[in-house]
Amino acid sequence: MMRRLLLCLLLLVQARPALADDVLYLYNWNNYISDATVSRFETHCRCTLKQDYYSDNEEMLAKLEAGAVGYDVLVPTGNAVESLIRRGALRPLDQARLPHLGNIQAEYRNPWYDPSGHYAVPYATSVTLLGYNVDKLRELDLPTDTWALIFEPRHLAKIKGKVTVLNSQRELMAAAMRYLGHSVQSHELAQWQQAKRLLLRAKPYWAAFSNSTYIKDLAIGNIWVAHGYSNDMYRAQQDALAAHRPFSIGFATPKEGAVLAVDNFVLHKDGRRPDLALRFIDFMLEGANAADVSNLIGAGNPNAAALPHIQPEIAGHPAIFPPAAELRRLEMLRDFDPQLRRALSRMWTEVKVR
């Protein structure tokens, strides 16, 4: 009897690692896949999907750079994909095992950060733009479709202390570069200096640099204009609506152009389950599954088959799904060499301190 019990226990102990082996580790942004999608995938592959979260590409890159391993799939933005490829941190995709790859729209295929399309499968997009309090700005008779709103003192004078901008050197300086008519991938130091001067001139009118609190501040009515990401603005809009605020939140891509971020699924080279990872990516390429992220957080979607499954007010929003003509005015961030990075960081410090 005792022996049989022991045997059973032994079997149990041995059985557990076998079960635990069918686990796919995803290093992802928080709330970037709905719980429903996760459980559908787990049923589909008879495995477990475990997620760790980061809230910034740079956090993920720093952690991987210092040697963290164990993740099968990462979800980096375009510029981070390029860095990861150049560092040799990624595993090429076996495209034969991704039958639904054709669902990706032509505009998003073979991007500059992965020209051969060997490493990255685009998943969701966002645009860095301006969100605003519709009623307040109408009342003050201010334009909402231009960066001038957060850079020109003649506009800012009316909304002093009611504006937040992203606490991100890359994003904020990129916005200034677009307003000045330069490329956000420019290597010209003089152009960046010009952007710095623009920021310094506008800074006294801003309330704060904010990367996260602006969603709430905008929805509450503490601030009237925020520089931020389209999906965050969508959230602020929905929150204000749900809380029956006496005003509404709008967001639009400035006509001077803006930064487009494309987040991709990639395989980490040290991941132990590339087989499960590929099944996961292909599952996420199916229209209904791909659409989830758009419906969940109001993200743009590079997947053509997803469009019919996306709520019309999201799919039809020009700031979330930029029309083809507008897409040409959007640029992606690109990582610079160490010298330029240091020079830009020095300028940014000056913006923060002066």
């Binding site: 956090e59 640099f209 990075r341």
Partner: protein
């Protein structure tokens, strides 16, 4: 006790005394050498390297050849102009202000706790630390809600208030453990000599509590310098501290050598301050020895 036996005790005391010395010195030293000193040396070395093309550090070996010699570039960059020094000075000022406010707030509280009946003391200490069992971020968000209507949000005042709030227990607890051991007989003696309440406080209690104030100040002043979450969430457009600057180098800017350089310079500056404070403390202890 026979003399032989006494000698035996002396010898064994000597040996066990040595043993005791090693027993308390060795474990923490060993742990810290392995898990602090060795990792820190990697970072010291990192500050002398060049940033990698795509973040991190430049590879030491490319195709088997040693490619990157060590460089003082990061240090040159730091001292190249005054802007980074300015941030250092400003951060030290905020840390000092936070520390002083913490002393002012913590002292009455610590004193009250130390002088309360034993039964009540447990509860009072616990009440100080309890708010800190909740999450830092949540408490800061609560501050956002409290400061918003006062029009203080996104100002330096908000930053200092947040800093004081987060670090207050690190002042109260050392002060309390110090004040708790004071001998009431001293105060009694002072009273017998006709000293009033205030005189007794300034001439007896306060000088005796200086070690507590010093250790509390170290535990407040130093962590404040490296803090970045509070300036980021509560501060306005000008509230950049060293902590934020260092975080930016490791994350946004992917410039590990400069981040390491900033961290090392900060650490050295802090240790220098601590050294100076210890010297000052030694001097003032000499003054208090007359009292004890």
């Amino acid at each position: 006790m026979t003399s032989a036996r006494r000698r035996f005790w002396c010898i064994s005391n000597l040996n066990s005394g040595k043993l005791a010395r090693w027993a308390v010195t060795l474990p923490p030293s060993l742990f810290l050498v392995v898990f602090f000193l060795l990792p820190a040396l990697i970072v010291v070395a990192a500050s002398l390297r060049e940033p990698g093309e795509f973040g991190g550090l430049a590879p030491l070996f490319v195709d088997g050849a040693f490619t990157h010699a060590l460089t003082l570039d990061s240090y040159r960059f730091f001292f190249g102009d005054t802007i980074y020094l300015e941030i250092f000075v400003k951060s030290f000022f905020i840390a000092l202000l936070t520390t002083l406010i913490c002393i002012a707030l913590a002292y009455p509280l610590a004193w009250l706790i130390a002088r309360s009946p034993k039964r009540r003391r447990d509860l009072l200490v616990l009440l100080v630390i309890l708010p800190f069992a909740s999450n830092l971020l949540i408490r800061v968000y609560a501050w956002i809600l409290l400061l918003g209507p006062l029009n203080l949000l996104y100002t330096p005042v908000a930053v200092v208030a947040g800093m004081v709030y987060v670090h207050l227990p690190f002042m109260v607890l050392p002060l309390y453990t110090n004040l708790e051991k004071h001998d009431p007989a001293l105060l009694e003696a002072a009273q017998d000599l006709g000293a009033g309440t205030w005189t007794r406080f300034w001439r007896v209690t306060f000088p005796l509590s200086l070690p507590g104030i010093f250790s509390g100040s170290a535990l407040v002043f130093i962590p404040v310098l490296g803090m970045f979450a509070i300036p980021e969430l509560l501060g306005g457009t000008g509230d950049l501290m060293i902590g934020n600057l260092i975080k930016e180098q490791f994350l946004d800017n992917r410039d590990w050598p400069f981040g390491a350089t900033l961290s090392l310079l900060l650490t050295v500056a802090v240790l220098l301050c601590a050294g100076l404070a210890t010297l000052a403390a030694k001097k003032s202890f000499k003054g208090t020895e007359a009292v004890t």
